[in-house]
């Protein structure tokens, strides 16, 4: 069997993998780009995520990553020549505070957001309920709202990227797991289900599973998988009105364009790659959601599923070249779908564009864990180390 040879091997065909592949093909049409995925279309984290995007963050690089990405989502049907669109729905995000501590962090974030032109605003409790009528007023301290935030279909997004990337000559193969990567001279050989693949450069986009491939190369990144569960309701009247994130409950609620409502719930669970729905999940989630959103009590639940998102010590993405020259990593830290357009552009600059001076990248470099230069995000709803999420079953 003749071995495959490529300029760039991308491992993982999720939002990061495919966006990077398409961006690289755009940037350097002469580059050979091969994407291998161990699963099927959308079988990883992208196909299991909550479909939301927002520019309401509390650090410059996250605001910028998402502003750029949202602009791309708005133009995706044209830029990726996907005429039916990706079910884009910009009905805003309401970040909800049920504690003074959270409200203080939200207020501070809005100040920074305004510096970058994010049209976010601070809302009082009654205004929050006006924006999302299903909410219960009780316990709400306040919230912030940005009308440009919203949702799109992760499935359509992946399909649009896949078709565009293939049109540009990218070779995307599913059901082809990469088992190991070995240095060979100045290049690399990947041991895969399709035999050996020789590549000049390797970009790892398998999110929480990236350490599996890096460890044998002597690179140790503190990235783990945080199992999450989600469920979706049948389509209903627009009673949610926007995407609501209850920061103190670690729950995101989005009414997507088709009218159904997606609920993503984060609990403090054993880390790993478990993709099974758990028996206690639906009951736990329904009680928790009804606690702050009583208006959904008659809503019918259609389907639930499990997923895994990546978790890093500062809950920020990992973007850049690893200690092994020629091996790059792009790990999302629970923002893969929403930041994938900008991350594609950045990684294309890094991998096939001769490098990038974009200041977004410096704080997200993989080496920050070794140097201790962590950049914790004040506005994550994923921080289970303190607050309401702790010790909940």
């Amino acid at each position: 069997m003749s071995a495959l040879t490529t300029d760039v091997l991308i491992v993982g065909a999720g939002a990061y993998g495919l966006s990077c592949a398409w961006s690289m093909a755009q940037r350097d049409p002469s580059a050979n780009i091969l994407v291998l995925d161990g699963g099927e279309f959308a079988s990883g984290a992208t196909g299991r995520n909550g479909a939301g995007f927002r520019m309401q963050w509390a650090l410059e690089f996250n605001i910028r990553l998402n502003q750029e990405s949202i602009q791309f989502f708005e133009e995706a049907h044209e830029r990726l020549d996907y005429p039916d669109g990706i079910d884009l729905c910009q009905e805003g995000y309401l970040l909800l505070a049920h504690s003074e501590r959270t409200m203080a962090a939200l207020r501070q974030a809005v100040e920074l957001q305004h510096k970058f032109g994010v049209p976010s605003e601070i809302l009082g409790p009654e205004e929050c309920v006006r924006v999302s009528p299903a909410l219960g007023l009780e316990g709400i301290v306040g919230g912030t709202y940005c009308a440009k935030d919203g949702t799109a279909s992760p499935f359509l997004w992946l399909d649009a990227l896949l078709r565009a990337a293939r049109r540009d000559g990218v070779d995307v193969r599913y059901n082809t797991r990469v088992h190991r990567i070995e240095p060979r001279g100045s290049d690399f050989v990947a041991i895969t289900d399709a035999g050996e693949v020789a590549a000049s450069k390797v970009l790892l986009c398998t999110d929480w599973a990236v350490p599996e491939l890096l460890a044998p190369l002597g690179v140790d990144l503190p990235i783990t998988g945080l199992p999450k569960e989600a469920f979706v309701s049948e389509a209903c009247d627009p009673r949610i009105g926007t995407t609501v994130i209850s920061m103190d409950n670690h729950i995101a609620v989005s009414q997507v364009r088709r009218g159904s409502v997606v609920f993503v719930v984060t609990r403090d669970r054993e880390r790993g790659g478990d993709l099974h729905s758990t028996p206690e999940f639906l009951g736990y989630s329904a009680r928790k959601i009804l606690g702050f959103m009583p208006g959904v009590s008659d809503l019918k639940i259609l389907r639930s599923w499990a997923g895994v998102s990546s978790e890093t010590p500062d809950m920020q993405a990992v973007l850049g070249e690893t200690d092994v020259e020629g091996v790059y990593a792009a790990v999302s830290a629970y923002k893969g779908f929403m930041t994938s357009p900008a991350v594609g552009r950045l990684m294309a600059e890094l991998v096939v564009g001769g490098g990038s001076n974009d200041p977004i990248l410096a704080p997200l470099h993989p080496r920050r864990f070794a140097t201790g230069a962590l950049v914790p995000e004040p506005l994550t709803n994923q921080d289970l180390s303190g607050g309401v999420g702790k010790k909940q079953q």
Binding site: E40, F41, A42, S43, F155, R163, S277, A286, L290, V296
Partner: protein, 465 residues
């Protein structure tokens, strides 16, 4: 030691399983969707008066026998009507929505007697209002004494279209014709099997006689071509086929109607078994994706047993016999006892099951739909009704390389709607395998919930059982 058994489904298999398990000393909970016991085949009038006498006298006797057998022990069973068994986890742990709350049941054994749904085969216009499944038409007759249309065309395969057409005639409908894929005479190819089911053959003849007396034409070797109408069905076009279910051009007949009742086979309701981790086989002519079970109904999932049509389509008589066998086996499983004594004690049930399984070989001759039926749909025809996904969209995904049912679902949304893929999975399987059903096709990953439940029902918990 008192053991607990939960039975899901109150058709003949479930009722007899509940009875047998109760008589063997188990504490039994019987969970069912309907308001009254009977399932689809022995569905009772919702009003409780059973005034609407649907079906032949012999059928009603058979129904009464099963209902009476359950009634005798019903006071010892905790019966949950109008309940939705929506999740089954290994354990077994069953979640049931009942009276606005969830009962979390952790019995020693679960018997799944969940029956079948009807299988749709898409053709142009099949999603128009007024195109209904024959079993659905029958259910409204049995439960409410309501006939779903006045001018009716019935199409499909096997005995059900004939029975439903005759029941509609008796309910006062004008049945234009019954268009069958195969002649019922195809069953004559299996004379020994026919003999095994002679009482059912006699009923079939009775139904044909009703149709003949009413002057209803029964056409053999015909298939639907399309249904047309502005707001709802006004006309159906049928055509002859040449043995492969593909319509022969030039033989079309257009028939005015306000109801098209169709039955093109069945789909086992196997979501709960799949969720619990039972091993699943794909046998399209026995109900599609069905759990593999041994002679006692035991699946690969510990404590999870299956009985009746949901474990492979074989009809109500097999279901009743198998219900008793599986009910007894569930108690033995719960007590950790061997199955040795069951076969000896339930010899008559094993014999009845064998006899009627033999008869099913004859039924299969008339029921089996040739693979050409999967080409009835054109590119614009909706194949996934919940998410409105057309055949051409599915074929685009297939040509992009998304050939498993899971990948197709994620790429096209087909199978993501409220029916959980029950309605479209066979169509997707056929399209991925080049227009035929391939027994190697793996069903989509089952996702809780198997039935729609409200937030309130999920949030309110009652621990028990």
């Amino acid at each position: 030691m008192t053991v607990s058994v939960v039975v899901v489904g109150a058709g003949p298999a479930g009722l007899m399983a509940a009875r047998e398990a109760t008589m063997r000393g188990a504490q039994v909970i019987l969970v069912d969707e309907a308001a009254r016991p009977g399932g689809q085949i022995y569905r009772q009038s919702a009003a409780g008066d059973n005034a609407a006498k649907i079906g032949l006298a012999t059928e009603r006797t058979r129904k009464q026998t099963v209902l009476d057998a359950f009634s005798e022990i019903a006071h010892q069973v905790e019966y949950l009507p109008g309940a939705a068994a929506y999740s089954l986890f290994p354990g077994p742990e069953l979640h049931v929505a009942y009276k606005g709350a969830t009962r979390e049941l952790r019995p020693d054994a679960v018997v799944l007697a969940t029956g079948v749904s009807e299988r749709g085969i898409p053709f142009p216009g099949w999603t128009l209002p007024g195109v209904m499944f024959a079993g659905g038409v029958q259910a409204t007759l049995k439960a409410h004494g309501v006939r779903a249309g006045d001018r009716v065309v019935v199409t499909g395969a096997g005995p059900l279209p004939v029975a439903v057409a005759a029941q509609l005639v008796e309910a006062g409908a004008q049945v234009q014709c019954v268009a069958l894929v195969h002649s019922l005479r195809a069953m004559l190819r299996r004379p020994a099997a026919l003999w095994a089911g002679r009482e059912l053959v006699r009923e079939g003849m009775d139904y044909l006689r009703i149709l003949s007396r009413a002057g209803v034409e029964v056409l053999d070797g015909w298939v639907p071509v399309r249904a047309d109408g502005e707001q709802r069905i006004e006309r159906v076009t049928i055509a002859r086929h040449s043995g492969d279910a593909r319509p022969i051009s030039g033989t079309e007949r257009a028939l005015d109607c306000d109801l098209l009742a169709m039955n093109f086979g069945f789909v086992a309701n196997s979501e709960l078994a799949r969720m619990a981790g039972a091993e699943i086989l794909f046998e399209p002519h026995r109900g599609g994706w069905i759990p593999r079970a041994d002679a006692f109904g035991r699946t690969a999932a510990p404590g999870v047993l299956v009985a009746g049509d949901g474990a492979g389509l074989r009809g109500a008589l097999v279901a009743a016999a198998e219900g008793r066998i599986t009910g007894a086996a569930a108690v033995a499983v719960a007590r950790g006892e061997s199955m040795d004594s069951i076969e000896a004690m339930l010899g008559a049930e094993f014999a009845q099951r064998r006899r009627h399984e033999h008869f099913q070989q004859a039924v299969q001759e008339a029921l089996r739909i040739p693979d050409g039926a999967w080409s009835w749909a054109n590119g614009e025809t909706i194949c996934c009704r919940c998410e409105c996904v057309t055949r051409s969209r599915i074929e685009r995904a297939i040509s992009d390389g998304h050939t498993s049912l899971n990948a197709l679902k994620r790429n096209t949304r087909a199978g993501m709607g409220w029916c959980g893929g029950r309605m479209c999975a066979h169509t997707l399987a056929a399209l991925t395998a080049g227009g035929r059903l391939d027994t190697a096709t793996v069903q989509m990953t089952p996702r809780p919930v198997a039935r729609l439940v409200t937030f309130a029902e999920v949030a309110n918990r009652v621990d028990g059982g």
